[in-house]
Symmetry: none
Subunit: 191 residues, 4 copies
């Protein structure tokens, strides 16, 4: 068995460490040194593998979105009806993992940085398009205007998440219930 290149291992460790550190201190004001230390290596090595702080951050965001995407896919796979698929998409957005402090901070960072950093902007758009496309597909059999309703639902999800994430009292359930009730209205309660 050949000795594996360290690169993917190191990169993964750094990405995980980034998310951990952001979560631990609930803020994006983390230093490369903190991240590298958490990942068990020198900050010089972090630079070596990523080139710079921005890219480490970017990779961490990508990872979070990738994780989220995976959860969504898993949920979708288990859903047997269009209605179930729509519900799965909504539920995934309010899953406990989405309210992990690290995830919340990362999302807020993403929003804030999307105004200036093209890469972050691209990432955010990617997430939005994917959600839009998934929702549209699920709503097609249920709604006369699937695109428009998907847009509405997507925005509603984001807005509800924003509020639930920033409220100290974890009311993810309320947010979820609200979103599902809107789904009901949009689809006339069809299953």
């Amino acid at each position: 068995m050949p000795k594996l290149g360290m690169e993917p291992i190191r990169r993964a460790a750094l990405v995980k460490a980034t998310i951990d550190v952001i979560g631990a201190q609930g803020s994006l004001d983390v230093t490369v040194s903190q991240i590298a230390k958490k990942a068990g290596m020198s900050s010089a090595l972090a630079h070596h593998y990523f080139g710079g702080k921005d890219q480490i951050f970017l990779a961490a965001m990508q990872q979070i979105l990738r994780d989220f995407g995976a959860e969504v896919r898993t949920a979708l796979r288990a859903a047997r009806t269009p209605r179930a698929r729509a519900e799965a998409l909504i539920s995934a957005s309010f899953a406990p993992s989405c309210f992990d402090p690290a995830t919340v901070s990362a999302w807020m960072t993403l929003y804030a940085q999307a105004t200036t950093q093209p890469e972050m902007h691209r990432l955010l758009r990617l997430y939005q398009r994917r959600l839009q496309s998934n929702l549209t597909h699920a709503l097609r059999p249920l709604s006369p205007r699937p695109e428009a309703d998907a847009e509405t639902l997507g925005a509603l999800i984001d807005g509800l998440y924003l509020r639930a994430a920033l409220a100290r009292d974890r009311n993810a359930e309320t947010a979820l219930a609200t979103a599902l009730s809107v789904l009901d209205r949009l689809t006339g309660g069809q299953k």
Copy 2:
């Protein structure tokens, strides 16, 4: 007799400069020196009048929310029916001034900082509660569940704003239309 009454002038100038600088560079990574320079004074004076960077920021955010609040009140005053009041609230959220780059950056900053800075968190909650209260009041004659619908509309507005603000192509109108159409559905189209 010394030159008198500069404090409010300087403070206002600094607040304006803060918004300008954030808007101009589309990012929250602005320094006190940049702000002070833009406001035509030394950074020392900025510290003298505000005490520190955080407080300058806070004052700027408060100003933005105050401006927004004023616009909302003006719009409400012209509205003669509950329906018109609801529309006014929604329209105000998608007014051109809300899409000014400085305003957008400020909002994103607010979201990002609310996770850690208690003052910013308080400010954001204040905005949310005010919107919620205004919407509930407007919906009371139109909806059987005014609180729940206000919550839905509030979150929808935030979500739509987020998307419209971050999309480079200015589609505030689409967002507005979407929000109004949801208002229609929630109220059964009553006027």
Copy 3:
């Protein structure tokens, strides 16, 4: 009655304020603004009357030494014998007023600044010469080597004060007792 010039009043207020502020915060790291505020005037006025921070400090030190000198003279006036005079000189050095935090800080400052600031050095020498002269005079009828013994006693007083002042547990009495017992030995217990 002519309206008195403000100058002496302001200067006195500033000197007092300086001592107060140093005492209150137990450190020489006080700003002109703090002092001026305490004295109820603007820092600009403080500069106007004193020319600069160093001079304010110097005046404060002079005041402390002047106060100490006055106490010494009062004590000497009440002393009827050489022995009583020597005791008065020693007692004055360990009077409660000498252990006032402001006084202690001022003395330490004086020592520290005497290495560089000629004015402070002069002031310290003045104090030392005066003590030396007073002690010598008091010891002349009691000791075969009044100068040498005065030197010894003077240094001992300084050393004991240094230790008592820096010890948190106020042991001025012990220090005083030690000094007096050495006086006894030097003079063979003569009264």
Copy 4:
């Protein structure tokens, strides 16, 4: 393999530079930049190795006391009789190295800072206790009240040092002679 083991070297260089700079300018108002420059490195590195200015200062003071302690131990080792030990302790306090401008400034700084900085206070107490203990031990066979006499001698040494150090005309010898003569009196001239 990176260059290794610089930490102790850098730390030692910084400590030495601190003492040098304080000595050269005879004042405690030295900046980290000055120290770092003298030590041939960037101020950032100084912070990296020490964490902050206060800790650099503290380390410098500790070094001075350590050096002094070493001199004392060396002198004690050569002393064969109690009397010789007492003389050694006294002589060490008036050794030429104690009158090096840097050392004098450092001592004055120590006194001045001991009123506010707990670490400095601890350091000073440590020195005082060590001297006290050494003197007591040496005086035990010579004096009926070794503790009290040690206290007297210790304070006398401090007071004489203070005066000699601050007098521009180097009269360390006179101070030493005075201290030794008091030792004689306290011990009845025993050898």
